[in-house]
Symmetry: C2
Subunit: 319 residues, 2 copies
Amino acid sequence: MATGGGAFKFYDKIREVLGVDVLREDEMECLIIGLDFFITEIPREVFTYSETDPMQFEEPRSDIYPYLLVNIGSGVSMIKVSGPREFQRVGGTSLGGGTLWGLLSLLTGARTFDEMLANAERGDNAKVDMLVGDIYGTDYGKIGLKSSTIASSFGKVFRMKREAEREAEDSGGLSKNDAGFLPSPTSPTSSAEPNPTSEVPEPESSSSSFNAEDISRSLLYAISNNIGQIAYLQSEKHNLSTIYFGGSFIRGHRQTINTLSYAIKFWSDGAKKAYFLRHEGFLGAVGAFLKRQPRNWGRRGSLEESGSGVGDRKGADGI
Amino acid sequence: MATGGGAFKFYDKIREVLGVDVLREDEMECLIIGLDFFITEIPREVFTYSETDPMQFEEPRSDIYPYLLVNIGSGVSMIKVSGPREFQRVGGTSLGGGTLWGLLSLLTGARTFDEMLANAERGDNAKVDMLVGDIYGTDYGKIGLKSSTIASSFGKVFRMKREAEREAEDSGGLSKNDAGFLPSPTSPTSSAEPNPTSEVPEPESSSSSFNAEDISRSLLYAISNNIGQIAYLQSEKHNLSTIYFGGSFIRGHRQTINTLSYAIKFWSDGAKKAYFLRHEGFLGAVGAFLKRQPRNWGRRGSLEESGSGVGDRKGADGI
């Protein structure tokens, strides 16, 4: 059983190279079947995040519809689920995991997602992002913006880079005051490294004045915040009070989960919560597996009944 | 008169260096006053975009409320305007002009926004973006996605880059088939340039296998699409049928206007339109100017009455 784009794209190849039959299942349908199974049947699976309790588990329950599933892979799909196998893709965004991986591999030289996440963990996004406080010197209370709010992701980069280049070009010529140049509000010049050896710095050399950790954290925040906001707005438009996040982008990574949770809480004024799953990357695979099993192939609650029903439990343990 | 973040941040500096008094006006209020003036009074100012008629002008009108203003500068603010000087910031996104300028200055070495836009004009985003067709080999009709839809912005980059690096590392060792490696669906290996001189390519050198034009177009699309989608969703949430776009990011640039228009049309199924202004970058400045003028300082319709009222027209011509 296979699902996802690859199940179609590589259908012939897999059969030929591996010498196996391939049963192709629709990706969205499998995702939903897998998710429904996890939500309704598996204890200690669904959780919400807070600083004090990073994994607060929800009890499995049966009254789950309707809900919004936000599946984050290379891109992002948002799916409204109204009942068993009843669903509709209501939106999504092309700014997803692939965007983060692609841009960070170009900008930081990180070679794996784990490396990128480790970088982000150590970074300070305020070094590259323009915060409300950088613009106004304070909160912009009149419209409800805190000084720590990110006004522009990577908003400090362009100005700092141009400044460093100007310095390199001027190299002892006009001073900034002579040129009528006002210092940037966002860039103490000490942190932008001029490149005195070249008049026109090469694009490749200039990213070195920004640090891989800060860049990684900024982009992780930007992508996660953006997904959170769009998910919230879609949930509003379609009257969905529960939002589940799944897909391989999340990977149990605390900062990502934290940012997505925060975004939902922020945008909904605390009215909505983001729900996560321990097996977020396996929804589709489990769904494809389940779809081909006879009904009631496993035994509900078998995980708790440790002394009984051993013979019935093979399937469930297999997951 | 000054408005915007700089009017607060540089208040002392401007007074001191330029030796002038500075009257600071609230940014949002000035934006709205300026916009209301343009919408209600100025002919050939507000326009919609279509391929066949890139500047279809709207007549000035007085029944303008409520509407949504999307102001795109370094960051993006979305403001619901319910009446004269009656407004509320309902949302925004940190993915704005500053993000585009910052990332493109790092990735392509472009040194001005105009250079970036010129690059984007010549680029092909399909070289770096993962399209629906790249994933499924075809449309994913079941959920309404065309094969040309962007599934993941920069979604091709990570895989292509890793492949080039693997080739450089393997340098004649294991062939891909021996390693059980399936060719990427999205990257004919010919277009990824291996770097045979180094085992671990430096981050700085590797972006050179992607071209500045393609990268620029991809990011321009990503940022504009994203703003368009969020603007549409906010307009739905707040029941606003008219969406104006303003701010220095747009700059009369056809591709940007095209993408924003397309996004609004796409997400609203054609029910809503994006409106643009010829003087998009000057809303706040004009608003600050107007705020300090006596009421009825200009003369309505004076632009058309070319033979009369010369004495009254100074103010209006000044704009």
